[in-house]
Symmetry: C2
Subunit: 368 residues, 2 copies
C-alpha cells in the first residue's frame, strides 16, 4: 500500500492491486462473536480490507455431535455463544490457531484473560513481524509490582504493537445493534488507532481513539471493584444518592490509582466510554454488582464463594479478586490511606468489615 505502488497502478494499470489488510479475531465467546460481526460489516464495506474475517474458535463438540466451528460456518452464527445473530457470511471460524493468524495484518484478541499467556506462547514466530494487535480483554491482573497489562503481555511476548478497546459494551446489546460507544487506547501511532476505529466503528457503535493505553485498560479492570461497592449500597437499600456518591468516589480512586501507577495516564480518559460510561453500565447491571448486593443483604454471613457458586454457575467474580490484588498493591506501597473505598471493598469481601462500612469508610477524605 505504499503510495508509489498505488501510483504505478494508475499509470500502468497492470501491477498487482495494493495488498488488502487481513483481520483475524482470536477468540469466539459472546463478545468475540460480536466483535467479529462488527468487523465483518466493515471489511465488506471498505476496499482497503480483505473481506474475509477469520475467527479462531476453541473447538468444542456440540450436544448434537457437530463441531462448533462447523456449526458456525454452516449457520453463519455462533450457536453456542451468540445464538440468533448472523455474524456476516465473511466470518470464517477456524479451530487451528496458527492457521487462523497466518497472514493476518491485524489481530483482535478477545479471549478470557487467563488463556492469553498460553496463546501468546503458541503464537511466537507465527505472526507477521509488522502485525498490529488490539486487546478487547477486560480484567487484567493487578500484581504487587503493578498491573500485568494484557496489552503489554501481547506486546512483549510477540514483539508487536498492541492497542486496547474498552467501553460500556454489553455484548448482547451491541449484537442487536443498540447504540453504544467504545474507546481505543493507543500508545504512539495515531494512524494505527484510526485504522482500528475504521474497523470497529459502525452507525450504532461509535469508537473514539485516545492516546492512553494504560488509562483505558485500567478502567476496564478497576470499575469492577467499584461495582462491588455499588452492589453493597444496593443491598443495604441506601438509595440513589448514596450510590451515586460511592460511584463518584470509586471513579476518583480509579483515576488516582491509575495515575499513581502510570503518570502518563490522562484525566480526560475517565470521561470517555471506557471510564464513566462503562462504570455506569457496570454499576447498574452486571454480575459483580448483583452478587455484592446479595452479599450485603445477607449481612456478609454468606461468603462470596458461596454466593458465586449459587448465582453464577461456576463463573468467578472479577471484582472480588481485583479488589484483593489492588489491596496488595496499596499495602505494599503504603497507599492504603489514599484509597479508602478500594481498601474497604476488599476488607468487606474478606469479612474483616461489615457491608455497612462501605459508606462509613469511603467518606474518609483520602490523605493526599
Amino acid at each position: 500500500m505504499a503510495p508509489e505502488l498505488q501510483e504505478e497502478n494508475y499509470t500502468t494499470g497492470s501491477a498487482e492491486p495494493p495488498q488488502k489488510t487481513r483481520v483475524t479475531v482470536v477468540g469466539s465467546g459472546n463478545w468475540g462473536s460480536v466483535a467479529a460481526k462488527l468487523i465483518a460489516s466493515n471489511t465488506r464495506r471498505l476496499s482497503s480490507f480483505h473481506d474475509e474475517v477469520r475467527m479462531w474458535v476453541f473447538e468444542e463438540t456440540l450436544p448434537s455431535g457437530e463441531k462448533l466451528t462447523d456449526a458456525i460456518n454452516r449457520n453463519n452464527e455462533n450457536v453456542k455463544y451468540l445464538p440468533g445473530i448472523k455474524l456476516g457470511k465473511n466470518v470464517v471460524a477456524d479451530p487451528d490457531l496458527e492457521n487462523a493468524v497466518n497472514g493476518a495484518n491485524m489481530l483482535v484478541f478477545v479471549t478470557p484473560h487467563q488463556f492469553m499467556e498460553g496463546i501468546c506462547r503458541r503464537l511466537v514466530g507465527k505472526v507477521k513481524a509488522d502485525v498490529e494487535a488490539i486487546s478487547l480483554i477486560k480484567g487484567m491482573e493487578v500484581k504487587m509490582e503493578g498491573p500485568c497489562m494484557i496489552s503489554t503481555l501481547i506486546s512483549d511476548q510477540l514483539g508487536i504493537n498492541c492497542c486496547v478497546l474498552m467501553g460500556a459494551n454489553i455484548a448482547n446489546e451491541i449484537a442487536v445493534e443498540k447504540f453504544s460507544e467504545a474507546t481505543v487506547g493507543y500508545r504512539e501511532k495515531k494512524e494505527i488507532a484510526q485504522k482500528w476505529v475504521q474497523l470497529f466503528n459502525t452507525s450504532y457503535f461509535i469508537v473514539t481513539p485516545v492516546q492512553d493505553v494504560e488509562g483505558v485498560e485500567l478502567c476496564g479492570t478497576l470499575k469492577n471493584v467499584v461495582a462491588i461497592a455499588a452492589g453493597f449500597v444496593d443491598g443495604l437499600e441506601m438509595g440513589n444518592n448514596t450510590k451515586a456518591a460511592i460511584m463518584r468516589i470509586g471513579l476518583r480512586e480509579m483515576k488516582a490509582f491509575s495515575k499513581m501507577l502510570f503518570p502518563s495516564v490522562k484525566d480526560t480518559t475517565f470521561f470517555e466510554s471506557c471510564g464513566v460510561a462503562d462504570l455506569i453500565t457496570t454499576c447498574l447491571g452486571g454480575r459483580n454488582r448483583k452478587v455484592a448486593e446479595a452479599f450485603a443483604r445477607n449481612e456478609g454471613k454468606r461468603s462470596f464463594d458461596e454466593l458465586e457458586a449459587e448465582m453464577l454457575q461456576g463463573q468467578k467474580l472479577q471484582g472480588v479478586s481485583t479488589a484483593k490484588e489492588v489491596y496488595e498493591v496499596l499495602s505494599h506501597r503504603g497507599w492504603l490511606d489514599f484509597f479508602p473505598l478500594f481498601a474497604t471493598v476488599h476488607e468487606i469481601c474478606i469479612g474483616t468489615l461489615p457491608p455497612t462500612a462501605i459508606v462509613e469508610h469511603s467518606e474518609r477524605t483520602p490523605k493526599m
Copy 2:
C-alpha cells in the same frame, strides 16, 4: 474574631468574647429544611457559630388553622415540607424576611428560583455589608446572552459575595442521614469556602470546595437536560449500555457548554459531586427522567405539558424549559453542530423529531 481580640481575652479575661457568626436560612421547603437541620447540627457543635439558626418561612396556614411557623417552632419539625424529621431545637422559624436576615453574617438561599429576584429586591439595604451568601438553588435560567446565574443575581443585587452548593442531594435521603456528598463552588476567598464547608459538613454529608462557581452552578442546571435524554432511552427500552453512552455524551456536552460560556470552568469540577454524581442520581431517579420516559413510551404523541399535568400535580419540568433555553443559546451563537445531544433533546420535546432520534442524532461527532 480578630486575633488581637482573642489575645486580649486571654490576658485580661474581661473583654467581650469574640462575636459568633449568625446564620440565616432563606427558604424552608424540603431541601431548605434539610439544610437547616445540617447547619443546626454544626452551629450547636462549633463554638465559632451562634447556636440559633434562623429560617425564613413563607407563611402558610395549615389545614388545622395553625400557622406553619408556629407549627415548626412548636414541633421542631417542618410538618408540611419535611414531616417526621426533627430539625434541631436551635432552628427558629421566622415569617418576617427582614427580621430573619437581620444581624446575620451568613445567608443560605434555598427557595424556588423564580422567587429570588423578588427576595433580593426586598433585601437591598437590609443585610450586613460584609454578609456572606451561598445559593443552594438549582435551575437558574439560561438566557440567550448566557446563563442568568442565581449566585450572580444575589451578588449583583445585594453587592455581596456569593458561593454555591450543589451535588447529588436528594433531600429526603439526606434527612434520614444517608451518606451523601456535595460541592461548594467559590470565586476567590478559599477561607470563606472553608467556613461553608464547616457549616454544612457532617459525618454523612461530605462537602468539598472547588474554585469554580460557574462550573458548579451550571452542572446543577444542565444535568436536567441530560436526564430528559436518559428518560427517552428508558422509554425506548434501549438498555443500560445505551443509557450509559447517552449520559456520557451528556456529561461531555455539559462540560463543553460550560467551558465555552465561561473559559474559567475547570474539567475537574465535572468529577465532583455536582458533576458526575448528581448526573447519575438525576438520570436514575428524578422527575425529568420519569416524564421523559412516559413521553417516549407514548412515542411523543402526548405532549410534555399533558404528561406533566398528569404526573406532577402542577409542578413544571426544569429539563424541558432548560433544553429550550440552551437551544436558544446554541442557535443564537451558531453552536448547534457542537451539541447534538442538547439540540436533539429540545427538538424531541417540541415534536420536531421522534424520541428515537435521541440515539440517531447524539451519536454524531460534534464538529469541534
